[in-house]
Amino acid sequence: MVKLLGLKMLRDMGRSKAVYIICALVVTIGFSGYSLMSIAYERLMDTRDAFFSATDFSTAFADVEQAPLAVAGRLAAVPGVSVAEGRLTDTARVQALRWHEQSGGKREELLAGEAELLLISTRPEGMNRPYLNAGSLPRAGRLETVLGAGFAAAHGLRPGDAVSLIIGGQATELEVCGIGVSPENIYLVKDLADMLPDLSSYDGAFLHYDTLAALLGREGAANSFAFTLWPGAGIDDVKAAVEDILRPYVCYRVYDRADHVSTAMLQAELDQLQSMAGVIPVLFLLVAAVILYITLFRLVEQQRVQIGALLSLGFSHRAISLHFACFGAATGLLGGVAGGASGILCAVPIWEYYLTFYSMPALGAGFGAAYPYLFYSALAGALFCGAIGWLAARGVARLQPAEALQPAAPPAGKLTPLERLPWTRELLTIPGLVGLRGVFRNGRRSLFSLVGIACAYMMIASLVSMNSMVDIFIYDELTEVEQQDFTVYFNAPVAWADARAAVSHPEVRRAELVLDVGVTCKSPVASLEGTLKGLEVGGELLRLADAAGRPLALAEGGAIITAHMAAALELGPGDWLEVESPGPAGQTMRLPVAGVTGQYMNSTVYVPLRLAAEFQRTNGACNSLLVAGTEQARRDVADRLADAARFTLAEGRLAKIDKMNAAMGSMLFILYYMAFAGVAIGFAVIFTGSLVCFEEMKREMATMITLGLNSRDCLEVISSGQWLLTFGGVILGLPLTWAATEAMVRTMSGDMYTIPNYLSGEALVRATVLTLVAVVLSNAVIHRRLRRITPVDIMRERN
């Protein structure tokens, strides 16, 4: 019996395979997203954990001005701390690269000041060692370094080559003894506002402690402590004791490794993956549910007499409902298996993409652990779609056997609400009227179609608007806010006059002074690490504007904050913001918020330059310059400053945009792919609706053809209903879209940035156009089928 009913099911499904294939595809997309992201998440977690333990990554850090190394012993004695180690870190400008004669590969020369390395001291037996891709760890007393893998790759450097750095004010040539990464340089940004790391200009370099200490003239000293906590202990358990010990040495910050910028970004990514893995399949399963329900509901109606025959044979209502549930389960199983399998296949390249992005080594368990996802997806797909089938077949349970054998009573003909409007009757042709009445006659199915179209519209619109979100999110910063051609940074505050003199050049159009101060920003409800940015009043190279694009002008005594900060601190114009500088001086300042910019990626407080300088007590100083000028000017300035110890970097904005484009390339590809998936799904829903409607009205249309109407007129029967449903679906889709983008934005926003719900009118219009295109396409397919109708066959066919 099971076998025969299974056979019946397969053949029935084969008759309208288009619908089941479409539905299985939607399920496939959902589950491939689910398994892909879940596997990538787990695999990445594994890799991260393996990487952390392979490098003995410490669980906490403390930054100080300078302390004796021996203080580590006192830190280790704090209850909750198991091991502590002192180390030195500093930044150094790269002056030149020197390649070994034999080494081939590309050789990318650097302009003076274009690249900088974060020096981190290390010991072979200590914590936070680099994980070596090649070569060996640096030895004591040798001028050797392990270069960050990203920097080495960008410039074609290998063990045996050399880099010349300005360390402690002096040019020093270090031999590259190895290439590697540590958790501290997997996501290295010099300035949080840079957002994406650029390893070719900023990466880590690991030197033996003895070497670095000698080069910096800080033997026996440390400016950073790494320590490991007892299992179960948290940073808050030891923070106070550690701060007490380090206070005499000017303690800047004691933090958990979760707050280490390099790993925080990875954590944010992991959190996002995890929450998206939960959201994506739900959206797609919802759409699949709509398609399946419409299809199976119709199938059950259509097979009413067959159901009667099965009942008369002695099949129970349960067995028959189960039979229809199997239609759903089979579709879901197919989609789940395909989704799980494709997810497993695609997880490998995605994982590799993440490894490249975060420069992590391929560590951790293999993909064997991924296979259960095939099973989960298959099971969840079958159960979910089976349940939808069961719901759609609920009508069976209510059918009395004798009743089932009679064809359903013809629906009562009545005027639709629309026809009561005065002008509709004149506007509509008879086929159009038939179509309209069809929509209202089959209330439940029409409702489902409506919801399906609304869901499809929501998916298209929210995916399309994701693209504009990314535009706002990342590119606006570079194209709308920043107007300079390049930026010159100084390691330490420089007098205004000296800074201006440094860039005076006939081809420099404009130069504006900037003073950045790292601060903690507080509001009554929260606090946030950020940057106080002093800008020249009336400057033009950093254009501040609010979310609507209206320019914001800096004024004395008021602060302009970014949208991310406004959101995180729950502040708005007119509120008071408290700014506190870290470290011993610990000045605080209260400022009224004068405006909020449309920037979502960074936490910056913009104030007039003079105010920032006063706050930092470095009157008349700045630490970077925004410059508008030619590329020649940039090269000349770099050359001129090549020997200046405190100058570090002059990067072209356009080059930055290029690099951003390259880094975003794959991300944009994913977004376009998703938008495409949205359109395909929209089409699927609309097409299924039309197809089911076509099957249902076949007989009516055969009659019309017999009466002499052509296939175009008949198409109108279906299309008028579809247009009406589409219209309603789009209207219903608008609030749904808003809710979906809002939910998406909430899951993606984190500590590091806020993502605005940027649902633009343009995205809505585009989505509407795409939805209409889907209707037109589906009408075209239906029209082809209509032309193949032979009325005789249909009239003879008895259900």
Partner: protein, 235 residues
């Protein structure tokens, strides 16, 4: 007449759907004995199908009792009704009602699969003379052939009751004759009673008893003392 297989007392069926109540069947009382052939005659809408559906466990009477083998069918739960249909009844319909996506043999096998003590499906098909057509789908068979498949589907279950609702209604005379002959042959072979609804008074001559229905009333039961053999019916 021998001991009754089935006894009906005051069977009534009232439909209330759609405002005005319809008395489809009013107080019908009768018995059905093993191996007898009952013909039900009456104009369209007179309650014939309602009666047959109640006998077959496809519908339940509003009032009245129906006893089968000492059990009260009218008091059966949905589950017991399903078992009753499955094990006791073989149904044949005017429009055959085969499953279009199953072949002739598969249609028969489907019925056999859920019934304990069923005949072998190929054997049942052979009995209706369609051994060769087992692999054909209903759409590839003529009306008469489809009806014969549906007879095979009913007899494969070895039913205790054989119920036919206008089995020749959609067939030409040639096929009608074949179908009626088969039905009576099967009655002889299985020893079960057969109830046939028909508009054809000629077929009535082959029955042992004729139920005359009008406006939901079982007006008259006439006894045919000398049933005409099928071969002698005038088509």
């Amino acid at each position: 007449m021998s001991e009754a297989l089935l006894t009906a007392e005051n069977l009534s069926r009232q439909y209330t759907g759609g405002g005005v109540p319809v008395h489809a069947l009013r107080a019908a009382s009768f018995t059905i004995a093993p191996a007898e052939c009952i013909i039900v005659l009456g104009p369209s809408g007179s309650g014939k199908s309602t009666l047959l559906n109640i006998i077959g466990g496809m519908d339940t009477p509003t009032t009245g009792r129906l006893c089968y083998g000492g059990r009260d069918v009218s008091a059966f739960s949905a589950r017991e009704l399903t078992e009753y249909r499955r094990d006791a009844v073989g149904f044949i319909f005017q429009f055959f009602n085969l499953i279009p996506s199953l072949t002739a043999l598969e249609n028969v096998a489907l019925a056999a699969a859920i019934t304990a003590g069923a005949m072998s499906p190929p054997e049942a098909l052979a009995l209706v003379g369609l051994a060769e057509r087992g692999a054909h789908f209903p759409s590839q068979l003529s009306g008469g052939e489809q009806q014969r498949v549906s007879i095979a589907r009913a007899i494969v279950k070895n039913p205790a009751l054989f119920l036919c609702d206008e089995p020749t209604g959609a067939l030409d005379t040639q096929n009608s004759a074949t179908v009626v002959r088969l039905l009576l042959q099967m009655r002889d072979r299985l020893g079960c009673p057969v109830v046939i609804i028909t508009h054809n008074t000629e077929i009535a001559r082959a029955g042992d008893r004729i139920f005359h229905m009008k406006d939901g009333l079982l007006e008259k039961i006439s006894i045919n003392s000398a049933p005409v053999p099928v071969e002698d019916l005038q088509w």
